[in-house]
Every structure is written in structure tokens, then in C-alpha cells.
């Protein structure tokens, strides 16, 4: 069976000539959770934006290679078209509509999905906290609630493939745990395939089936999550565990030089 | 530039530069476009027909047209261009503010300036001319008509107090009213850019003041709104409108209800009354040459045409040597020494006194009749006992 999503030899650029992704290939199998790890500026968000088509709004485009979804070429299509096909991108930094109330946020997205009240309610069932704050302006929600709302909005689309961009960014550990169990739950109960970009390698690898490591716009390593978890370099550079955990207090005494490149 | 001589075939031709300053895009362009067309048609026509100096040398007028959008500052910029770049000896100008502003400068530069502003302040400026009485004298003549036609009564003055053109005749009107036995019941500020609500408010105030007559000193937009509003509020008045506030379009603009209430002043006869006026043969010929149909020859067209015509007549009375060596100065002397006749178009022949350029004191009054047609009431003259232009110059 072909993978749900495959990116083949993609090159991605921002206007005018900022080359961010060079010759990158990756696959997401139906029904899995796949994660992309990588440091800041590696190009994780860029990749997800390109898949979802949102990159157009930042004057970027796929200049070479192709992105295929269930056999269709979706390279450089409009985001609303791609959304209709079942790929929803939950952007980095809790991009919800802050000046609208929670309810209006849901309404706005329901305008395009055409979800009925039952469907909205079904989505809210995953996020009981949101139900209590429907009339609150979204900007006043706590960070966790905002992230929940962001995912809830995506769920209105009944997506097949959910692209999550650093969902744990700036969230408290407890919320992160809650969030990850919700993601897991969505995956298990709704059968949604998930592509996850994360800095928080530990959490990401915990729930993923497969992982890619990206640096400087290239995939430098890939493999099943449990294999990656045990990898020496991953342990040291992404999980912060050399021989045992290295304390930040000692950070002055070592300066690691790594790079697969 | 001035004095550039050339030989076209065997004939010697002098080319002179003349500036044409018009408003085709600014706040007065609704009348400015017609004026500009008239002036241009005149230039083309006379050039085509041949302008010859007194001593028989052909003169070709090269006119440089600029649209200054009724912005006096812009007018100054263009004036500099006319003067410094083209060495013009005369300018056909337009508005009151810009003409007044440039009047001292043109005197220093010795450039004849014939404009469409009939402001009284200009009649004492040595290089400013126009073939019509000044606004004040015109208004006084209009008042004389009111007096003669309707007897005495109360008059309300509606005008925009921050626009030079509108303000110009007010002191003279107030003075002349006393002599004619009219009572001024008040000044009512009607913006040049009035909305209908403004006009209605002013109309109610005028009605409340019990006026029998209204002077509207603005341009056609606000004056016709005022007429309409006066009719709407049921004021029983006769409205007398300054030259730029009333013309062939007024019947449409004021609306049926105001028919029979409005009259306009004009120093030139309207083209609708052209039959039998020989001067119009020239104008119609020129219009034909310029490809302009007769129905588009309006009062504004005539105003533009006559201004250029006056210049042409002056050139025709000067010697080629004078024209070449003394340019504007020579034209000024001619203008101040001769009588110019426009075949019955102007209310009287044009004759300027040196130092006091009021060429005649008569105007035509045109009434908008009950049936919506324009009726020529006749020719009226400013009252004898008062020099309206001087009143304005001294008080304004």
C-alpha cells in the first residue's frame, strides 16, 4: 500500500531566494504517528507549511520535487483545497483567533466545514475545559486552553492527517502531558494519522511510531521511534542524556560539537 | 520665446507665447472646463484666421496651457514656468485668489494678465484686465434690477465667507443696498461645498429672517442647492445669483419647484439669446473649426473666448516692433487707450481707463421663468450714486 503522504526530493524556498529545504524526502504511513525532530530553524515548520499549502501566505513555494497525498499531487495547492482533502495544519504558537470568542472561533471554522451542532459538541467532548469558556475571548484563554482550541478547530474538519507543529511550545509540563494523551487518544479513537514536529524530543518519541531528524533543511537520520530513542547521538543531543543525564549546571564545562552533516 | 522670428514661406511671422491657466480638475472645474474650451477654441481660430499687427505682420500665438486645479500655489508654479521658461507676454488666467495673488508680480514682470476673475481689487492693478465689470459693479447692477422690478425689500446674503470670490462683492452690496432702499437682513454662510442639509438649514434661516430677496455669491453647485431648498421650505423669495452661480444648467439643477424664483447676472449675453448678435458669428465659426457643436457653446465658453479675443484685439492694434521690443507693456498701453467692440456680446463696448480697469457698468439679467425657460430680462446698470468697485477696494 502506498503511504498516506510522501514528500519526494522537495526543495522549498521563501521569497526571494531563501532556500530552506533541500532535496528532502519523507513518508507518513496511514494510521501512524510520525515525528520530525530538529533544532531551531531546521525547517520543520517550513515543511509542514509546504505540505498544507499555507506557505503561500509567506511567499514561499515548493520549487522542486513533489508532495503526494493518497496518490494525488498536492504540491503548491491552495491551503483550503488541501484542507478539504483532509490535511489540517495546526500552526506553531497557538494560532487561534484571539479577538474572537471561543464560540466564534468554532463558528468561523464551521463555516467552511459545515459542521452541525452535534459535530461541534463531539469535538468539544475531547476538551471539556473549552466547553466552560465558550463566551470567553480566545486571547484570554491560558496557553494550554489555546492549544486545545487550536486542535479542536482542526478536528472540525474530521481530518485524516493532522500536522502538529510544536504543540508543547511554551506549555507547562502538566499541560504537555495532558495534550499528548489527548493526541494519543485522537489517534487511537478517531484513527487520525499524525505528523508531529517537535523540539520536545522525549515526549514526541514517546508517542511516535516513526521519527525523522532534520537539520539545516535535510533529513539526517530516520527510523522507528524505539530505535531512535536508543540512539547515542539522539540521546545526547536531543534528550540531553549523555552518560546519564547531563545537568545544565555543568553546561559551562562542555561544549559539544556534533553534526551529522 | 518672445520675439523669435521665423519665415514661413514668404510671410514673416512673429511667434509670441501666451500662458493659459485653467481649472479643469479642481473645485471650479464644472465651469472651468467650458471656459478652457472657449479659450482654446479662440486661440486656434484666430491663429488659423491670421492675426496681424497694426503694421500688417502676422502673429502666431503659441499658448501654453496648464491646469492648476484652482490651487493658487500651483498657479504660482505655473506662472513661473510661463515666465521663466516660455517668456510669455500675456497670460489668460482664471480664479480670484490666484489672480489677486499674482497681480503685483505680473506688474513687476510686465505681463498682461486677463483672467476670469472679475474681482474689484484687480481693477486698480496695472496689468490686470477683464472684458467685464467687476463683481461688485455687476452685483450693484443686479440690485438695481431687483429694485426696479420688485421695489424695495429685505435681502439676505448667502456666500462662503472663506472664499475670495464669494466674499468679493459683499461690501459693495451692503453699501449699494442702502442707496437703493434695500434692507440687508443678514450674512448667511453657505459653504461652497454645501450639502443639501446645509442648504436647507440656510434656507430656513433665510425664511425665518423674512427676506424677500436672496443674493447667492457662490458657484453653481451650492447656489442651485440653495434655490432648491428655498423652494422646499416654501420661502417666497427671488434669488439673484452671481455670474458663476447661474447658467444654462440651472433649470435642471434647481428643480421645477424653484422655477420663477431665480435670476442670474451676466456681463455677456447667453448663447441662447444669440440670434441677431453678430459677435456670435465669430464664436460659432470658431466652435465649428474646433469641432465643437453649437449646443456646447455655453456661457462659460463665451467667457473664455472673449478673454482671448480681447488679447487678440490688443495685438492687432499694436505695431510689430512694439510687440517685439516691449511685449506686455505695449499691450497694456493699447488696452488702456482703445475701445474694443465684441459685436454685441458684452453688455457694452470695452474701454479701460488707465489705472482703473472697469470697462463698462452694465450687465444682463437672465431669469429662470415659471416654465423652466431662460428669459432675458434686459440690460441693467449699476446705480449712479455709488462706485461699487471703489467701495470694495476700500473696504475689502
Amino acid at each position: 500500500m502506498p503511504p498516506l503522504l510522501s514528500v519526494a526530493n522537495a526543495e522549498i524556498m521563501y521569497h526571494p531566494y531563501i532556500l530552506v529545504i533541500k532535496n528532502l524526502s519523507l513518508k507518513v504511513e496511514e494510521g501512524t504517528i510520525t515525528c520530525i525532530l530538529g533544532p531551531n530553524g531546521a525547517g520543520k515548520s517550513t515543511l509542514l507549511k509546504a505540505i498544507s499549502g499555507v506557505i503561500k501566505y509567506e511567499r514561499g513555494r515548493v520549487t522542486r520535487g513533489s508532495i503526494n497525498y493518497r496518490g494525488d499531487d498536492i504540491t503548491n495547492r491552495d491551503p483550503d483545497e488541501i484542507a478539504k482533502m483532509g490535511i489540517i495544519y495546526v500552526m506553531e504558537g497557538r494560532r487561534i483567533f484571539r479577538e474572537l470568542t471561543v464560540k466564534e472561533n468554532l463558528d468561523a471554522v464551521a463555516y467552511v466545514t459545515g459542521s452541525g451542532p452535534d459535530e461541534v459538541k463531539a469535538v468539544l467532548d475531547y476538551f471539556p475545559r473549552l466547553k466552560e469558556r465558550l463566551e470567553e475571548r480566545a486571547g484570554n484563554l491560558s496557553g494550554g486552553e489555546q492549544q486545545m482550541l487550536a486542535i479542536a478547530l482542526a478536528l472540525l474538519h474530521k481530518p485524516r492527517l493532522l500536522l502538529l507543529d510544536e504543540p508543547s511550545l511554551g506549555l507547562a509540563p502538566k499541560i504537555v502531558s495532558l495534550l499528548y494523551s489527548t493526541i494519543r487518544q485522537l489517534h487511537d479513537e478517531e484513527g487520525i494519522t499524525i505528523l508531529l514536529a517537535e523540539q520536545n524530543a522525549r515526549k514526541a518519541l514517546e508517542i511516535s511510531d516513526y521519527g525523522y531528524v532534520m537539520e539545516n533543511g535535510k533529513i539526517v537520520m530516520e527510523g522507528p521511534a524505539d530505535v531512535l530513542r536508543e540512539d547515542k547521538d539522539i540521546k545526547e543531543f536531543y534528550l540531553g542524556m549523555g552518560r546519564g543525564r547531563t545537568s545544565y549546571r555543568n553546561v559551562k564545562w562542555y561544549r559539544r560539537k556534533k553534526r551529522w552533516v | 520665446g518672445r520675439g523669435s522670428e521665423e519665415t514661413a514661406g514668404e510671410e514673416e511671422v512673429i511667434t509670441i507665447n501666451v500662458g493659459l491657466l485653467v481649472d479643469e480638475t479642481g473645485p471650479t472645474s464644472d465651469v472651468g472646463i467650458g471656459y478652457a474650451r472657449g479659450a482654446e477654441a479662440a486661440f486656434k481660430y484666430f491663429n488659423e484666421k491670421g492675426i496681424y499687427t497694426k503694421d500688417g505682420v502676422r502673429v502666431e500665438i503659441n499658448y501654453i496651457k496648464r491646469d492648476y486645479a484652482y490651487n493658487p500655489t500651483q498657479a504660482e508654479e505655473f506662472y513661473r514656468e510661463f515666465r521663466d521658461r516660455y517668456n510669455v507676454i500675456a497670460v489668460i488666467g482664471w480664479g480670484t485668489a490666484d489672480t489677486e495673488k499674482l497681480s503685483d508680480q505680473v506688474a513687476r514682470d510686465k505681463i498682461v494678465y486677463i483672467s476670469a476673475s472679475y474681482s474689484a481689487k484687480l481693477v486698480v492693478k496695472p496689468y490686470n484686465f477683464f472684458p467685464a465689470p467687476d463683481y461688485s459693479t455687476q452685483a450693484c447692477a443686479g440690485l438695481a434690477w431687483l429694485r426696479e422690478e420688485y421695489g424695495g425689500g429685505k435681502i439676505a446674503l448667502a456666500y462662503d465667507s472663506k472664499v475670495a470670490y464669494s466674499r468679493s462683492p459683499i461690501p459693495a452690496i451692503k453699501e449699494a443696498s442702502k442707496i437703493l432702499g434695500l434692507e440687508v437682513v443678514g450674512d448667511f454662510d453657505l459653504p461652497l461645498r454645501a450639502s443639501e442639509a446645509d442648504a436647507e438649514r440656510v434656507a430656513r434661516e433665510i425664511k425665518a429672517a423674512g427676506a424677500d430677496f436672496v443674493w447667492c455669491g457662490n458657484t453653481i453647485s451650492s447656489c442651485s442647492l440653495l434655490a432648491r431648498a428655498l423652494a422646499k421650505v416654501g420661502a417666497d423669495v427671488v434669488m439673484l445669483v452671481n455670474v458663476w452661480g447661474f447658467d444654462e444648467r440651472s433649470p435642471d439643477l434647481v428643480g421645477e419647484e424653484a422655477y420663477g424664483m431665480v435670476a442670474g447676472i451676466s456681463p455677456f449675453i447667453y448663447p441662447v439669446f444669440a440670434s441677431g448678435i453678430e459677435g456670435f458669428n465669430v464664436i460659432y465659426e470658431a466652435a465649428e473649426l474646433a469641432g465643437i457643436p453649437r449646443e456646447e457653446v455655453t456661457l462659460r465658453f463665451v467667457q473664455g473666448f472673449v478673454n482671448v479675443w480681447l488679447l487678440v484685439k490688443a495685438i492687432e492694434s499694436v505695431t510689430s516692433e512694439d510687440l517685439l521690443s516691449r511685449g506686455g507693456e505695449a499691450l497694456k498701453e493699447i488696452l488702456e487707450s482703445q475701445t474694443f467692440d465684441f459685436g454685441g456680446i458684452t453688455a457694452a463696448p470695452v474701454k479701460f481707463q488707465p489705472g482703473f480697469h472697469v470697462p463698462y457698468k452694465d450687465v444682463y439679467i437672465v431669469m429662470l421663468a415659471e416654465d423652466g425657460s431662460l428669459v432675458l430680462e434686459g440690460k441693467y446698470s449699476a446705480p449712479k450714486g455709488i462706485d461699487c468697485a471703489r467701495v470694495t477696494i476700500e473696504r475689502g
Binding site: - | T25, E40, R66, A69, N71, E76, E77, R85, A97, L102
Partner: protein
């Protein structure tokens, strides 16, 4: 031979003239400025003079809008304040017009500081509209004090210490002197800590206050400087003109001035402003005098001025869309291209 020019001290690195090319350019510019009257005839000289006057005005607006991010649509009115100050000082107080120019700057500055009050609370569109309101109210005030639409500066007030500014060449030199001085001041302010504070306020005023910028003071300062420049420009204009009228300072002029800032290069106070003036004012005037006869020949004389609006408006809009940093950025790219030539990327 060194492979490039290296700076030994920070002072040298921060200096105005850093590279030999700067020095050469500066000398060339000064010579051009000085020689202009010898080369240009009277008409072009007066174009140059107005360009310099508008340069001063646009530099001021560029400080308010470009550097400090405080949108102002009242700049023309502030020029008017300066112009009327000079005219009335000369007419009523018998002051010499040249001496009244600093006074014009200060008066406009005072009014501008008043106009800055809304900026303490308002942002963006609301601020733009507040300034538009101020512009129209000032226009009204002008029309009251100048109902004849004409206030002259008497020629005898334009003579100072034997120098007669009624003479276009003298006037040109005087204007050039003032403009260059104002340009140097603008450049210095832009690179000083005050300039940085303004930029910070432009980018994020809440954050600016946290890092230690007195935000209201900085906004007021930006308006004050902008107003001062406008006032001086207006004052110069009053001297240049045979008489001022309030139509010279209407909303449409404010829009044009803002257009010059945005087209030239917002935040690029000196050269961006100059480029804006040269494009939208001088350039247009020159083009217009070519275009008008051409259009007349085509029988479209009535459209000549309509084209002015269409062309200028299109230039403003297109530049803003295509080149956020203004035409100066285009110039820089061209320069960069030639610097690297023949090795383009």
C-alpha cells in the same frame, strides 16, 4: 595593500564618512549644489529650490512616520503653520522673513507637539484619522485667518544683511544651506540614541517602555522634530512664494508628502526623502511639461491633469506594494549589484 577598508575604532566605524567613496560622493554633491545656478536657467533653478524646500518637509515627516512609526496626515497643515508664521511675522510685526524662519519652525513644533497628544493613546488607523482631523481643522483655521486666500510676504522683508532673497540665485543658496543643515541634523538624530528609541517605539511601544524608553516623550519628540521641519519648510516656502494661500497646505498635499516618504524610503530619513521628492514632485513636474503638449497633440488636453493623479497614485501604490522599503532599496540593490559586478550571485 589591504584587501578592504578596516576600522580601528568604533568611533571611526560610526562616523558619517566611513569610506573614501562617501567622501567622493559628498564632494561631488557639494559641487553640484554650488554650481547649480551657473548651469540651470531660472525655471529649473526654481524647481531645484522647491525640491529643496520639500526635501526639508519630507525629512521631517520621515522622522515622524518612518522612524517613529507615528502616522501623520497633518504635515501639510504644519507647513502651513510655518508659512503663516513667517508671513504674519513679516506683515504684522515687521520681522525679517529670514529671521522668522526659526520662529516658524518653533511654532509648528509647538502645534505638532499638541498633535502628538492623541498618539499617546491612539495607534495606526485611529492615529491616522486623528491627524487627518487635525489637518482639516487647521485648514479651517487657515481659511479663517486668510479668507482672501492670499497672504504675501513683503519683498522688503526678504532682505537680510544686504542679501536679497528676492533674487532667485540668492534664494537658492539660502534654501540649499538650510536644507543641507537640516539633512545633517536629521541623519544625526536618526543614528543617535533618540533615533533608536524612535525605531523601538515604532516596532513595539509597550516593549520599548519596558526596556527604558520614555514612550510618550519619544513620540512627542518625533512629532516635535517633524513639526519643526515642516515649519521651517513652510517658512522657506513663504519666502519663495509671492504669497501663500491655504490651498497650498491641504489634505491632498499631506497625502502627497506621505506618499513621498513611503515611495522614497520610510525610515531612510535623508536620502529616502530626497528620492521621494525627486520622484513625486520634481520628476512629475518635468514629466508633466513634456506630457501636456503631447496629450494636447492627441486632442486629450482635458485629461492632462487627470493623468497626473493616475500616474502619481499608481506610482505610490505600486512602490508600496512592490518595494516595502521604498525606491532607496532599489537603488541599494543596484549599487550592490555593481559592487559585486561582474560576480552576480
Amino acid at each position: 595593500m589591504p584587501a578592504g577598508v578596516f576600522k580601528e575604532t568604533y568611533e571611526a566605524d560610526m562616523a558619517f564618512i566611513r569610506y573614501p567613496i562617501h567622501k567622493a560622493a559628498l564632494i561631488a554633491a557639494i559641487i553640484a549644489l554650488l554650481a547649480a545656478p551657473a548651469v540651470l536657467d531660472r525655471y529649473y533653478l526654481s524647481l531645484a529650490t522647491t525640491a529643496l524646500i520639500f526635501w526639508v518637509a519630507v525629512m521631517g515627516l520621515n522622522i515622524t512616520v518612518g522612524l517613529a512609526g507615528q502616522i501623520s496626515l497633518a504635515h501639510a497643515a504644519l507647513m502651513g503653520v510655518g508659512a503663516y508664521t513667517v508671513a504674519h511675522a513679516a506683515l504684522k510685526l515687521g520681522l525679517n522673513a529670514v529671521l522668522a524662519v526659526p520662529l516658524a519652525g518653533i511654532t509648528a513644533m509647538a502645534i505638532s507637539v499638541l498633535l502628538s497628544l492623541p498618539s499617546f493613546k491612539l495607534k495606526e488607523y485611529y492615529l491616522a484619522m486623528a491627524s487627518l482631523a487635525a489637518q482639516l481643522l487647521l485648514e479651517y483655521a487657515f481659511s479663517r485667518i486668510d479668507p482672501d486666500q492670499y497672504t504675501p510676504v513683503p519683498p522688503e522683508a526678504k532682505v537680510l544683511a544686504g542679501v536679497d532673497l528676492n533674487n532667485p540665485v540668492n534664494l537658492y543658496y539660502f534654501t540649499a544651506l538650510v536644507a543641507v543643515l537640516m539633512a545633517v541634523i536629521a541623519a544625526n538624530i536618526a543614528r543617535s540614541t533618540y533615533g533608536r528609541a524612535m525605531k523601538a517605539v515604532r516596532d513595539n511601544d509597550v516593549a520599548a517602555s519596558i526596556v527604558g524608553v520614555d514612550v510618550p516623550l519619544t513620540k512627542a519628540l518625533a512629532f516635535a522634530i517633524g513639526g519643526f521641519y515642516a515649519g521651517v519648510a513652510g517658512g522657506l516656502y513663504a519666502i519663495y512664494s509671492v504669497g501663500i494661500g491655504w490651498e497650498a497646505f491641504t489634505l491632498i498635499v499631506s497625502i502627497e508628502l506621505l506618499g513621498m516618504v513611503l515611495v522614497g524610503g520610510p525610515g531612510r530619513v535623508v536620502w529616502g526623502s530626497l528620492l521621494g521628492v525627486l520622484t513625486l514632485r520634481t520628476g512629475w513636474t518635468l514629466l508633466e511639461s513634456q506630457l501636456t503638449p503631447l496629450l494636447s497633440a492627441l486632442g486629450m488636453t482635458a485629461y492632462a491633469s487627470a493623468f497626473k493623479y493616475i500616474v502619481l497614485g499608481a506610482v505610490i501604490t505600486a512602490t508600496i506594494i512592490l518595494e516595502p522599503e521604498g525606491l532607496i532599496a532599489v537603488l541599494r540593490r543596484v549599487k550592490e549589484y555593481f559592487r559585486l559586478w561582474p560576480y552576480s550571485y
